[in-house]
Subunit: 910 residues, 2 copies
């Protein structure tokens, strides 16, 4: 007989390291149980079942029923209670838990096992009818909502159970839920059940086993709900991972004042400080903390901000001490900061969850560096601990603090909330997520203001610069999501009176209307009326502006350690896309080892150069063109001298003219008239030229090397500027390493043609200036044909550089300018997992790049190859470049730290 | 001792089949000499020396001098004369001869060996001082021109030797060269030599060996002259083949009236009739025939057109009989029609050249078929004898070519464009499509002239006899549609200045107004003012119009034999690109075995359907779109029924909607107003939609399957029309084989998405109609990513079809609409050998196609794969498709015969 596949794992048996099988929550519970920590007994149904369930029309594997029953029996044994027993009923929670945390996205059912029979036993065991009925009515409404899908219908409707509850409170003349008496709650149970009957024409299931399977199915089904799908898309979580289901005996934080529930981090998730950090509520269930209906209390004195706050440390010192102990055990075991959920039932602490804690970039950095200092992890592990994209936050602007102080002094401080997502944000107020999305397309910056946020708001949150909520704590939905997105967030601002309908909010006497500017300081929790300018980050101030001393910035010290470690562990070189000496200087300070892409045409727009460019374009004959180019020559040369000087011997890759010439001509009648006057030509001349240069598909038109081939005089001028600049700098005794890059090559003959032009100029210049310098001539690979014939191209090229932006456009046959009309449908329909212009498409574009690398190196084994498209600063793309053996990636200056860290991670993962 | 490499071959020794080594002329002379035909003795210096000479700075291999000397001695022996001997001088000719004939491109020197000493002996041997001095003066001027490069300087100068000659004639009071007396000619020799001295400050070389090496060097050098290079480029002859040099003892056709020289073909090169065909001149040198200074006489009575003509047959019957004998010997030996040069010296016939004769398409066909009948060649050889592209000529209307030449001679040639749609068309000019339709109802024939055409113009194009455009290349809209319709088209005539408003165009100083007659030669690209009569092709009259009986057309009889033989020898299937039942019918008659590409959108323009299409585009909601689509459904269904019916079980590949929606909207204000009125919407509504749909790069925009994904209702309607049509035809008891093709797929998920839409519709339709039919769903591969991920795509696709037009655009990153600005430079600079939109680029695009075929078949070994781009009717591309193992090529109907023949040739060459 074949051994049966195991789908259900008792917490004492499951492999706590196998999150793929047990989900994050399940694995954590197993691990904690097996460490001997106080975990309420239970078991996990594996993620395999979720996949089976969703692939097989919501059927389960045939073995499942039996395995659940066996584990349930064991649980009954452990708890000394019986599921469905009228005297001594076992109550369980049914919770989702995927391998990658998706907070709040999927469903949970608590207090399952209650019915009109078992409630009696539950009352007698707890000796608290009010509590018992409170659990019951919570269970019925939760089950009605989650499993039976009895919800508000449409956005103007309200939750049907909420409606009944509110009516009941009004009827009883009470304001708060906990003022309702046991009989009131009992009535609620009956009214809730009736509502369900009215809506669905079915009776509420009284059989606990039916309840259990209903809840299991709902949790597995919730993997596929709209908000979970949206969340996965946003976070690039594969759709086929599935969730596990955790069935656990209930513990109660809401049995009285010797009970509590809370969430804690082993270190501060906002700034990384090495203290237990968290919040809790006395006499509450976990959902109360997350939902933000009551504002939680700080867990210990390090977090206390007001005198009226009561910490857990003070209120329940024994439980607090045990939590501190558990914190140490978990950090030692996991070597990472943990995010824990706990419940205290009658002064006994239970652990309900542990997982790697989400943290801000600032906290991630500090924790990683601290843990190296503490000996918990090594530098390699520290490198792997930071999401490269997070480094971006260190380079972001913060407030001009003087201006902020002035605003505060001027009475602009509206209120203060929780500093849920650090950073500075200023923008125009909107009151719902769709508006945030829409406004963001047309104004500089928006702040999304909500009473509290929900998973439906995710896209709007993503579009906003900052998020402000009236309710909810540091672990509310708004806070969690904002931190993960790197968004500024101030949460739980109780002073805000938000009126969605009127599209305004009131703070004291101040009214803020939709469209008004406000400013959030996510680091302090301050909410300020009006717009406040921002200023560069500390890292930028230290590295680039020099306005802050390194020793005055602990952040910089941690940051520079991390970058140093990453530099020691990477193989890829990091170059930058920069067009001016100033940009080059900044890039070097951020760690660049060369210029991977200098776009000469960007220089064409500076000052009045554009006039010479236009004169060149408008010239009818070669003499006229050369005359105009002669005016440009000294200017381009000075630019290159500046760049060579700054780069001081590091390679500088300069691309010859790329864009179609019509891009340099004025676009509208007014500008045409101005230019006509300035150049002393007729308006008609310019219009005729514009019409002559018009292209149906400019992206595929007369640009790149196609310009230099038809107008070799342009290439000559640029070659002259580059080589003269290099020679003059070399004469000053400095090193120079110019690399001239020919764009848009599709045939080796194009490269040959331009190479000959450049070599002739170079020879002439070097003879005239009586100096010889080394220079390279290579090609940008940005059309498929160049990649497909890379072996031929390699015979003429000193280097390759993939222009992955255009290469992605041509490989897909998609114009980035025109993709908006179908991009959303493509993501919604799961046709694309990612926008290929953000993350390099490894399957198609990447395969072509790999082919080209192999073909190129088959001819020249040492051929230097890099990429210079936007993907050069995107972590997964950098990893790909490392894996296929490129020499460097080149990206914009502010992405260099990301590229450095990504390159190190790629090498360490190798 | 290593054996020395042989560079020089005596005519009795050289391998007459090795044209690569000996050149065409040298090989022919060797072969004839070795057959015992009367060839003046001589030897050939191989093409190897040419390559050496041009690669080594004009130095020769060291062995050469010795080998030439040895062969010269042997020649002296054979001729009983001595090179440079004052009494009995040997005179030779020095002629070029490459492997592929380049008539008139390279240099020749005759009478070499004459100097002031040898002239005496030459006079005494010939007994004719006038003749001897005539030879001498010809030699000096020819040597001065060819070897010493004494020529007219600039275009206003005249030839310096010609100038002296004319002066001499004037001085002597004579009109013709042959009226000059021996002393006059002697004076000319001296004056020519003085001219050379004046120009170059060198003495004319008197040493015959110096003369010989000078001539050899000049011939080898002439391989690299400007006109030879241009000719090779034009005819795709590789630059590294090189020419041989033939040194041959002189014979003279100009020694008196018992001498003659001529050129003859073994069969008539114009119509293929099996008679000796040629022309000759009494008392003349070969150059006189070619130069056209005297009008040659017909060689025999079959060619005699006037009574005053004297045939060779009559004038020199013995020589003529010998020539007839030689004609038979040569045809038997070569099994092909030969082009011969001969000279008769004092009634003795000498053969100076034989080579395969150039011939018209009509002659090629007749000769090939006749030779099979005569048992000279087999059918395989006959198939290989016809240039596939020539078949086109049989399907096109033809001119009365004498009248056309008269028109050109009368200065009526306006300009030349691309020969985009071959054939002859003459008609009255109109400048827009509606006018073309309207005029066609009341005048004999119209020519539609547009700057460029768009899908809106289709009906007008159909009504016109010919289409002329100012912009666009060989695969522009005009060219593609014209070829599919079998229309004459001249495209991309940059010289036309078209003024729609004034209803006229300007070419140089000529103004052509609406209603004026013009004539297009779509085979040459010539545009001619005025009317030239045309006549329809015999093949079309027999096959398609039925207006000519097969037995009344010998051309048709030969043609149908060739096509039958080709069909027996090909492996590739030939499909057609056709959009209407009528086109399908014509394609079948021309040999099509299926429809490879039916573009559904072409049907959208018929009748008032376009209004429903526009209604669909303008609809704001899905209901409105579906309502408009419902109107289109029955019309599309009828089209498909017609096509299925005609195709009678042959596969029909139907592409779902491809072009961006803006192509269906009106372009200018007037049309917008009309459409607004017709559809009952506001002008603003249409303008807003046009502006919304505007694209920066429409080629890379919202088109292809991207439309069907965003608007699944369109795919649904089309799937419904196809499946319902197929089911209804199947119910009539006919066979149907619909293949639905999804365009522009770049990711397998796109195909999956559209496949699901189609399968759902198909299931519903088949259930409703209670019939089950087979159908396939496949993809067009026209963006590189689809090819690069063809293994993934193959899992979902029933077939692949390469859309090589768009694939070429995306692989090169070139918009064919915009390539005109650099295309010319690319051909001039030899960056491209061919326009990749005409001949499939095998190195880049072809490599990608090959990769995709391998990837696709790695998943589905029997995957059916074809191409449906314009390359499907281009011979070298068809051969490539055969070689990489495709199942079929699909091309427009009129290219089917070309494809059939190319496919057979590819298979025979395999």
């Amino acid at each position: 007989m074949m051994s049966e596949k195991t789908y259900v794992f008792h917490f004492q048996d499951g492999d706590g390291d196998n999150k793929a099988l047990l989900g994050g929550k399940g694995a954590g519970l197993c691990k904690m149980a097996q460490m001997g920590l106080p975990v309420p007994p239970g078991f996990t149904i594996s993620t395999d079942v979720c996949s089976y369930f969703n692939d097989n029309n919501h059927f389960y594997p045939k073995e499942l029923n039996n395995q659940v029953n066996k584990n349930l029996l064991k649980l009954e044994d452990e708890m000394g209670a019986k599921f469905g027993n009228a005297k001594n009923p076992l109550l369980v929670s049914v919770r989702s838990g995927a391998a990658i945390s998706m907070p709040g996205m999927m469903d949970t059912v608590l207090n399952l096992g209650l019915n009109d029979e078992t409630i009696k036993g539950f009352i007698s065991i707890t000796g608290n009818a009010r509590f018992a009925y409170d659990c019951y009515r919570r269970f019925v409404s939760m089950y009605g909502d989650v499993v039976l899908d009895v919800k508000a219908e449409g956005k103007d409707d309200i939750d049907p159970f909420e409606e009944i509850l509110e009516k009941k409170k009004a009827e009883k003349g009470v304001a708060k839920d906990n003022e309702l008496q046991s009989d009131d709650l009992k009535e609620l149970v009956a009214e809730f059940k009736k509502k369900i009957k009215d809506r669905l024409n079915i009776d509420f299931p009284e059989d606990p086993m039916e309840q259990l399977w209903g809840a299991i199915g709902a949790v597995f089904g919730s993997w596929d709900n709209e908000r979970a799908n949206a969340y996965r898309k946003l976070n690039s979580i594969p759709d086929d991972m599935g969730t596990a289901v955790n069935i656990q005996s209930m513990v109660f934080g809401n049995m009285g004042d010797d009970c509590a529930t809370g969430v804690a981090f082993t270190r501060n998730p906002a700034n990384g400080e090495n203290f237990l950090y968290g919040e809790y509520l006395i006499n509450a269930q976990g959902e109360d903390v997350v939902a933000g209906t009551r504002t939680p209390q700080p867990i210990n004195k390090t977090q206390k901000t007001r005198d009226d706050q009561v910490t857990l440390e003070k209120a329940m010192p024994e439980s607090y001490k045990e939590l501190e102990k558990i914190r140490n055990i978990l950090e030692t075991n996991y070597s990472d900061m943990q995010d824990m959920e706990f419940t205290i039932q009658k002064n006994k602490l239970f652990m309900l969850q542990t997982r790697s804690g989400k943290r801000t970039a600032f906290a991630a950095l500090k924790i990683a560096v601290d843990m190296v200092n503490e000996g918990l992890i090594d530098t390699k592990e520290a490198i792997l601990r930071i999401e490269p994209a997070q480094l971006n936050q260190f380079l972001r602007p913060t407030f001009d603090y003087i201006k902020k102080q002035e605003a505060i002094d001027a009475g602009k401080l509206l209120t203060k909330g929780l500093n849920a997502g650090p950073g500075a944000a200023t923008g125009q107020v909107v009151f719902n997520a769709p508006d945030a999305e829409e406004w963001a397309t047309r104004v500089q910056s928006v702040i999304l203001v909500r009473i509290e946020t929900s998973p439906e708001d995710i896209k709007g949150m993503n579009a906003a610069s900052g998020i402000l909520t009236a309710r909810g704590g540091m672990t509310s939905h708004a806070a969690l999501v904002a931190r993960q997105m790197g968004k500024v967030c101030v949460a739980g601002c109780g002073a805000l009176e938000i009126n969605y309908k009127a599209r305004q909010m009131k703070v004291g006497d101040t009214i803020i209307k939709e469209g008004d500017w406000i400013t959030l300081d996510g680091t302090t929790g301050e909410v300020i009326a009006g717009k406040i300018d921002t200023q560069p980050s500390q890292i930028i101030r230290v590295l680039i502006e020099g306005s802050l001393k390194p020793e005055d910035s602990p952040l910089y010290q941690d940051y520079s350690k991390l970058i140093k470690w990453a530099n020691e562990h990477r193989r890829l070189h990091i170059h930058t896309n920069a067009d001016t000496p100033q940009q080059c200087l900044e890039a070097i300070k951020l760690g660049s080892e060369g210029v991977g892409l200098c776009r000469t045409e960007h220089m064409f727009f500076e000052g009045d150069r554009i006039n010479s460019v236009r004169e060149m374009i408008l010239a009818d004959n070669i003499e006229g063109k050369e005359k105009a180019l002669a005016k440009l020559l000294p200017m381009q040369k000075e630019d290159f001298k500046g760049i060579f000087s700054v780069m001081d011997g590091k390679p500088v890759t300069i691309r010859t003219l790329d864009p179609p010439l019509h891009e340099f001509l004025p676009q509208n009648n007014k500008d045409i008239e101005i230019v006509a006057r300035e150049l002393g030509v007729s308006v008609d001349t310019i219009k005729t030229k514009i019409s002559f240069l018009h292209e149906t598909n400019p992206m595929l038109g007369h640009r790149g090397c196609r310009l230099g081939i038809v107008f070799p005089e342009i290439t000559k001028m640029q070659a002259r500027a580059i080589i003269e600049a290099a020679c003059e700098i070399a004469k000053e005794g400095k090193k120079v390493m110019p690399e001239i890059m020919i764009p848009l090559v599709g045939d080796v003959n194009e490269l040959k043609n331009q190479k000959a032009v450049i070599q002739n100029v170079a020879k002439e210049v070097m003879e005239r200036l009586d100096i010889s310098i080394d220079y390279k001539i290579g090609t940008m690979i940005e059309v498929p044909r160049c990649a497909l014939t890379a072996d031929h191209v390699a015979r003429e090229a000193d280097f390759f550089s993939f222009g992955t932006n255009d290469l992605t456009q041509t490989v897909y046959g998609i114009s980035r300018d025109d993709s908006a009309k179908f991009l959303e449908a493509y993501i919604d329909e799961s046709i694309w997992e990612n926008d290929p212009f953000e993350k390099l498409d490894q399957e198609g574009v990447g395969f072509l790049i790999k082919t080209a690398v192999e073909k190129g190196r088959s001819i020249k084994p040492d051929l230097s190859i890099g990429i210079c498209g936007e993907h050069g600063g995107e972590p997964s793309s950098v990893e790909f470049c490392h894996r296929i053996g490129l020499n460097y990636v080149s990206c914009s200056a502010f992405r260099i730290p990301i590229a450095i860290l990504s390159a190190a991670q790629a090498n360490l993962k190798d």
